[in-house]
Symmetry: C2
Subunit: 404 residues, 2 copies
Amino acid sequence: MMKMVLPLFFIVVSCGSSVERPLSDPKIGIQRPSKRVVLKGLKRPWSAAFLAANEVLIAEKDGDLLYVNLSTKERTTIKGFPDDLADSLLVNVTEHPLGTFPRGADGKKLKYNAGIFDVVLHPDFENNHKLYISYVSRKGENSTTKVVQAVLEKKTLTQLKPIFIADPYTIGLFHYGGGMTFGADGKLYITIGERLFTEANQPPMPIAQDLRDKRGKIYRLNDDGSIPTDNPNFGDEAVPGLYAIGIRAAQGITMHPKTGEIWFSEHGTRQGDEINKLEAGANYGWPIKTSGGYRGAGYTPPKLEDRSFTAPKWYWLQTVAPTGLTFYTGNDFPLWKDNLIIPGLSRGSLWRVVLENDTIMSLEELFVHDRVRARKVVQSPDGKLYLLTDEEDGKMILIENNVD
Amino acid sequence: MMKMVLPLFFIVVSCGSSVERPLSDPKIGIQRPSKRVVLKGLKRPWSAAFLAANEVLIAEKDGDLLYVNLSTKERTTIKGFPDDLADSLLVNVTEHPLGTFPRGADGKKLKYNAGIFDVVLHPDFENNHKLYISYVSRKGENSTTKVVQAVLEKKTLTQLKPIFIADPYTIGLFHYGGGMTFGADGKLYITIGERLFTEANQPPMPIAQDLRDKRGKIYRLNDDGSIPTDNPNFGDEAVPGLYAIGIRAAQGITMHPKTGEIWFSEHGTRQGDEINKLEAGANYGWPIKTSGGYRGAGYTPPKLEDRSFTAPKWYWLQTVAPTGLTFYTGNDFPLWKDNLIIPGLSRGSLWRVVLENDTIMSLEELFVHDRVRARKVVQSPDGKLYLLTDEEDGKMILIENNVD
């Protein structure tokens, strides 16, 4: 249908793709997400932080912190990574004190789920070159989640400063958490998992509900690791820096660039994977409340009836294993603006979540025909959406609008 | 961003909503589906067939075939419905020979899942006023699915002619099927369910695989009920009119208005709900192959290794109970053009499926915050999308683009 529109200065291409099209093109507004591999051979990449449109730091869970130039393809290992990093290594699980782990293929050994998790730039990185890394720190047979601040200088981490350690070091091999984001308030938010594989190992006061235990919690810290004066008050017994409790295993946490709201994903046990909105002082309920089931028959949590729990904004009825989510504000998919994009490990698809304020209106599962263990989505400074895959030959994939 | 575009005749609003907007409006292209109830008090409506933009026949599963004028709100029962219609009535299931049915609230009685199913207009209805109804026909304690052709004259069904009966009449109370659509070839396609509740009642040759049994099949007939000469050949033993076999419980079946492809939905037992593309001679596998589980432990189907099964194009991992699907070609949601819209009873949401040829690219679950048992979606001649809800106070709901 042709329209004559006057005056000329009202003519705005406000809905098209990033490709120049005459306004008569019937494909304006159509979006056809497709994948283009831009990097391969990454060792189970977990996170990425863009220094510029084509320069990115990539944290490999089973490898190193890398600097990559997407134009030249230069790939350099960042020097100076903390030496207490626990590499993935084989552990003989038949002798493990917590013994109820899944067995590896030989019936005995399991690849330790350790390594580097997140890398996040300080909001003022441009000037101070500060960044934050989360990883598994090892002491003998024990380990825990640790966050270190560093100054990036000539592709080397300098001035290393521990910001947070989820001590004590323990024997558990799972659910370290390690997701991080800065908030609109300039504070650093960190997720720490409860470190159990099965509820059979829960103490009488479950870990994620125990205010004296650092595991199973979300923290809010000043950028130097000190405790903000306006954190929620969990009482005198509580470990410092607490922002929310009742967390089983959360890895993805992200801030809405406009509203400042923080949203996070969480892994349930049997189903029960969730999308949550972060609120000060909230108790997300694990393991008292879960939207899924428990692993292993017969676990009955204590009721803790005096506690008030915060329900997820969404939970899936099938296992998705949602991780490194992000809000989308790019230009390739104008219709996705402000949607929450969530990668899933288990089924290997990407989820696009439409929100109106706090309410989830719809969810679209993308790439159902082209699945890959999806670990993290991150938006570059020039608004492009990238996906990291959790594979031994891991990839960084550009999600582009291939409308032709 | 302002652009001067010349010459003027290239300026086309090709991506907007149906509301007039200046091209500078940033909401062009945004779609915000919302619900507007246009009718209430329908008795578990199952299907609708539009006579004109604002005139519609509605088949109530637990009521009547109605004529409704959406402008004047006139609601008239169509006279002359066949008198062998089995109303929903209470059956004492503790005495039922197939005894393994779910119990009603009193532990004994169950509301018989009978009534009127589909109403479909002949492709040349404008001239011949022919339509087709599917419903549960009753003979004493036995019933089956029946399709009758009628001529609509002054809000009365006349010249009733049985087109198809899934005889023999049997005791089973479930899974009648009854979905119907005309194809691009002018033939009538009908789904008939297998009529079992649990696999414990399967004979050694399962019903849906038994070529001599009319249940659990999809049929292709001439508009007078005779058998087309170009139907697939299932052999001499096969019941007449067979087009596909291996169907458990399919209610939604629809034709793509451009390609002529026919797609149908199907209910699995434990999960295993599917989207299938209809192909001549196909065996959709039930109960030999299922994407879900079986009801009741211990059922082992025969292998039937000489048979070749057709996999679904999609199956859900959670129960959705998908039913009366349709392809969308309206104008309120230009970005949904040619998408498959599928209502779900069980979780009460609407699914929007993006296809490229036969491949499902993505699925969006809509109205997750506003669930209602969704039975059928149907598009009016003026391109509006309506939803029928499976409730005792059932509704017809307009799905509109409420971008403001």
